[in-house]
Chain length 140, copies 2
């Protein structure tokens, strides 16, 4: 396994509702899919929204109802951008799970949940640099 992740899938109860949320967050829905699956290019990876019943059938599993133990973070270039992204999430129909505040590691961060309760951290962490293409790196 090479050090990469290809697709992050959110098993959605309502694919269209979540797709509209992520569009309102600024992501671009690929026009070639629809209905039970939607894809968004996410830098060098892909965000997929896949109808929960179909995803469960495909993998032969049942997903837990609550907040999953796998969650996502969007790192920003500034403290102010954290506030902006959280405000955007609230406007788009998300829920502020934790308002922005100072982190013990020195940065500025908060959490939102999308309309189906999937958790995102939004953080400005200057110790993890972000390049011009949006790629984040661990400290050297």
């Amino acid at each position: 396994m090479q050090p990469r992740v290809s697709i992050i899938t959110i098993a959605a109860n309502d694919v269209e509702r979540l797709a509209a949320f992520y569009e309102a967050m600024g992501l671009k829905r690929h026009p070639g899919f629809g209905d039970d699956v939607e894809f968004f290019q996410l830098g060098g990876a892909i965000l997929a929204l896949f109808l929960r019943a179909d995803a469960e059938k495909d993998a032969g599993v049942e997903f837990a109802q609550g907040i999953g133990r796998v969650y996502l973070a969007y790192n920003t270039l500034s403290d102010a951008e954290v506030d902006e992204v959280l405000a955007q999430a609230r406007m788009a129909g998300g829920r502020i799970v934790k308002p922005a505040g100072r982190a013990f590691w020195g940065g500025w961060y908060g959490y939102f949940a999308d309309p189906e309760g999937n958790l995102w951290e939004v953080a400005h962490n200057p110790a993890f640099p972000i390049d011009a293409e949006g790629r984040i790196s661990l400290p050297k």
Copy 2:
């Protein structure tokens, strides 16, 4: 929000056990952390393992016990590589959730779960090209 994801966090009951699994999968643990949090560079993103109790306290939420609705996919360059990655996951202490087989969309794929039950799809999908740096793209 720009089209990128920065960090994928797995809230872990046993950070060291999961870190050992992901090392056995070929990922490199960053040497600068440890104990309750570990980081792995994952292309232009980062995989974090964060002690579940700490993650819950940080976000002010409680994670569901079962398989989360957010799950990951590792796309390969060949059908054979799917088989290899699934075999590697089994050797490393993971569980084969769905053995490799032909997908309705034409590719070859299966699923494994890490030692704490977090789901990964492993798929060869020639319609989603992967470049030399491991970046995957949706079809044009």
